[in-house]
Amino acid sequence: MMGKTNILKPALICFCVMTVLCGILYTAAVTGIAQIIFPKQANGSMITFTLKDGSQKEYGSELIAQEFTKPEYLIGRPMGMSNLSPVGSEQKELVQERIDWWHSIDPENTAEIPMDLVTASGSGVDPDISPEAAQYQAARIAKERNMSEEDIKKIIKKYTTGPFLGIWGEPAVNVLKVNLALDGLL
């Protein structure tokens, strides 16, 4: 039979070439182009403000959820992922705890709670909630902040994105952006 070295040599060289080409050159090229054309997105879509003294302050990424628990803020989905079966007993208890928590911070609100507020996301850091979930909280935020419910709804609407081309995906409200706007920072 033909010697194995006849295969081993091209195999080794081929592997090295592919490593340079697909590992180093390709990654470097994409990084270079990305950093030039889309520097904000390529570096985590951070929300940055320049303070009065000229220093920069980063309030986090607009794509990564932050935890909000105070009633004057728009509150997002439960943090962390569960991997629980939606029909299991563990899940049932957990959802009940969340429902009770929502009632405890907003006892006057007797509406049914939108599902996304009492279920965990896949990433555990879902930056969005559904428009219904935001509407559900509008009256509470308005009362806590002595603002009109209309103003709150306007801010919510401003940071709501629709499906792509009106077809793919679901409408969503970016929680962090709404809260930055509520605090007058955005």
Binding site: K9, A11, G44, V87, G88, E90, I167
Partner: protein
């Protein structure tokens, strides 16, 4: 629900529309014809051949082709194993991550070399940037290219007559990478960055949270470049632990559409390529239709299950199941992705499969258990499907008492032995792996869910590894010595035994004469054949897995 139906239909229209031109393009690449990139890339291509010391018109027999593919993959495996263990000492380690354990490194190396991308680690805490781009990104490319190369070889086996050779592995691998995978990946990666997928060598960022000023770490890295090929090459391994559910890996509805299209794009195109190559487009079309029908039925089943069988909670508004799903994707885009990723042997997720409803999760599991042939992995899906085609031809031949033929080639005992290896190895290693895991005393401590759903977590894990998919019911704690080692071995067996069988099948087919079809020849390009094919696929899958499914998702459904 209307919107979900609309987005699914438009998805399928887009997929078919893109797969036809791309399939024709890949056919030209496979046969060495000029394409619009030829002028630019030919010097690079020839340079690579010169370095390797091979000729662009070199031909290989089955044995040499198989040894080349195996040795090439073996080198990649050893390199990847050691890079992970030594990563703590190597550069591009801004987060100060240490080397991984030997068994986790073994599992991950086996996983990426076999195009599985099962992940027992979480990218942002477990691997350095160097391991990701120099180790994993490279295997994302070359394991995909290897699968496509083997499909080219098998296709040539049907086309050529009385020849001893089936093409050159080095040429197939190089051309696929240069002309197909790299250009598509560059474009996709940059569009993904525009949507917010990160691409940087800079360190993780620390931000102070708005409400209480507490620190929050934003993980970064050269992600978009890896995510592009992760989808296009049906690899599926996420740069970050939560895969494409993580917003920095898949930030918008548009990025989601691009990624879910990329999952099926090349596997679907290859059906067109096959039809062109065997000079009878209807042969490719019938396979495409069979795959698309299985895909569409699964999509309807999963979407309906997620939409209508979600549990009600008193006090919460009735809705589709949202546990483990992102708001921007909802049930529609999450179900579409889940079906695409398990139909193809991709394995990336944009929602947690563990939190799918019992019947939805069962369909996902069953799609993998069919052997990853409903589109399947790039190359490997179609060569697996061709094994089922031969099996169907063989069974039909037995029923009417004629020597079975496919594309003018007689199907003989040697061919059927190779077909059996292709068809039966994945279910065999899946079931053995599941049985071994269940009999481990510590098994129950690896699970997040109790009862039947806990068993589903184990069955899903071994179905995923035993069919080179890579997705998980992620509540299963996979990073144990037992699962890492047995899982690693299973992934290698499930990849390389069928692959070698496909190459030897190609070699044997190439040597045969072509006989002209007659009156009694079974047509392999009409709807009746598509029906027969689906029937055979379903029977093999159901016979192998119904008992196990009854203990897992079916029991889960009836006890909910």
């Amino acid at each position: 629900m209307k919107m979900i139906i609309l987005q699914d239909i438009l998805y399928i229209v887009l997929l078919i529309g893109l797969s036809i031109p791309l399939g024709i393009y890949i056919y030209k690449v496979m046969t060495g014809q000029n394409v619009f990139l030829t002028r630019m890339l030919v010097p690079v291509e020839n340079g690579i051949y010169k370095l390797m010391g091979v000729k662009s018109d070199e031909e290989m027999g089955a044995k040499r082709y198989a040894l080349s593919a195996l040795i090439f993959s073996g080198i990649g495996f050893i390199f990847l194993w050691f890079v992970q263990m030594l990563q703590g000492l190597l550069p591009f380690n801004a987060a100060g991550i240490k080397g991984t354990s030997w068994h986790l490194a073994f599992n991950t190396a086996a996983s990426f070399v076999s195009n599985t991308n099962w992940q027992a680690y979480s990218g942002e805490t477990g691997l350095t940037y160097l391991t990701q781009f120099l180790g994993l990104t490279v295997q994302n490319f070359v394991s995909a290219a290897t699968g496509i190369a083997v499909l080219f070889a098998l296709t040539r086996g049907f086309v050529v007559r009385e020849k001893k050779t089936i093409g050159s592995f080095w040429v197939d691998l190089t051309r696929t990478t240069l002309y197909v995978l790299l250009p598509l990946s560059i474009i996709l990666a940059i569009v993904l960055v525009s949507q917010g997928v990160v691409q940087t060598f800079g360190p993780y960022k620390d931000a102070a949270m708005l409400e209480n000023g507490a620190a929050q770490t934003i993980p970064l890295g050269p992600a978009a470049s890896q995510i592009a090929i992760k989808q296009l090459g049906t690899n599926g391994g996420g740069f970050f632990g939560a895969n494409s559910a993580f917003p920095l890996e898949n930030p918008t509805a548009f990025s989601n559409l691009l990624q879910v299209l990329s999952i099926l794009l090349i596997p679907a195109s290859l059906c067109v390529t096959f039809g062109k190559a065997v000079k009878d487009s209807s042969q490719g079309r019938v396979i495409y239709i069979a795959m698309m029908l299985l895909f569409a039925v699964s999509l309807i089943a999963v979407t309906a299950s997620e939409q209508f069988t979600a549990p009600d909670f008193t006090g919460a508004a009735a809705s589709a199941s949202m546990e483990g799903k992102e708001v921007i994707h909802g049930t529609g885009a999450s179900s579409l992705w889940a079906v695409a990723t398990t139909a193809a042997s991709n394995g990336s997720v944009n929602a947690m499969h563990d939190s799918f409803t019992p019947l939805g999760g069962m369909v996902l599991m069953f799609l993998m258990q069919l052997g990853e042939i409903v589109f399947g992995g790039v190359g490997s899906g179609l060569y697996g499907m061709l094994a089922f085609v031969l099996l169907t031809v063989f069974i039909a031949g037995l029923m009417v008492g004629r020597t079975p033929e496919y594309l003018g080639k007689k199907v003989e005992p040697y061919d059927m032995k190779m077909v059996c290896l292709l068809v039966l190895v994945p279910p065999l290693v899946t079931l053995i792996g599941t049985a071994a895991a269940v009999s481990m005393p510590a098994a129950s401590s690896w699970l997040t869910n109790s009862g039947a759903h806990g068993f589903s977590e184990i069955l899903y894990a071994f179905s995923s590894m035993g069919n080179n998919n890579g997705s998980a019911f992620a509540g299963f704690n996979a990073n144990t010595v037992f699962t890492n080692v047995t899982g690693g071995i299973i992934m290698l067996l499930a990849r390389f035994i069928p692959m070698t069988a496909a190459i030897y099948l190609a070699g044997n087919m190439a040597g045969k004469k072509t006989v002209a079809g007659g009156e009694g020849t079974l047509s392999t390009s009409d709807t009746m054949f598509a029906g027969l094919l689906i029937g055979v696929i379903f029977i093999i899958g159901a016979l192998s897995f119904l008992p196990a499914l009854a203990l897992g998702p079916i029991a889960d459904y009836f006890t909910m």
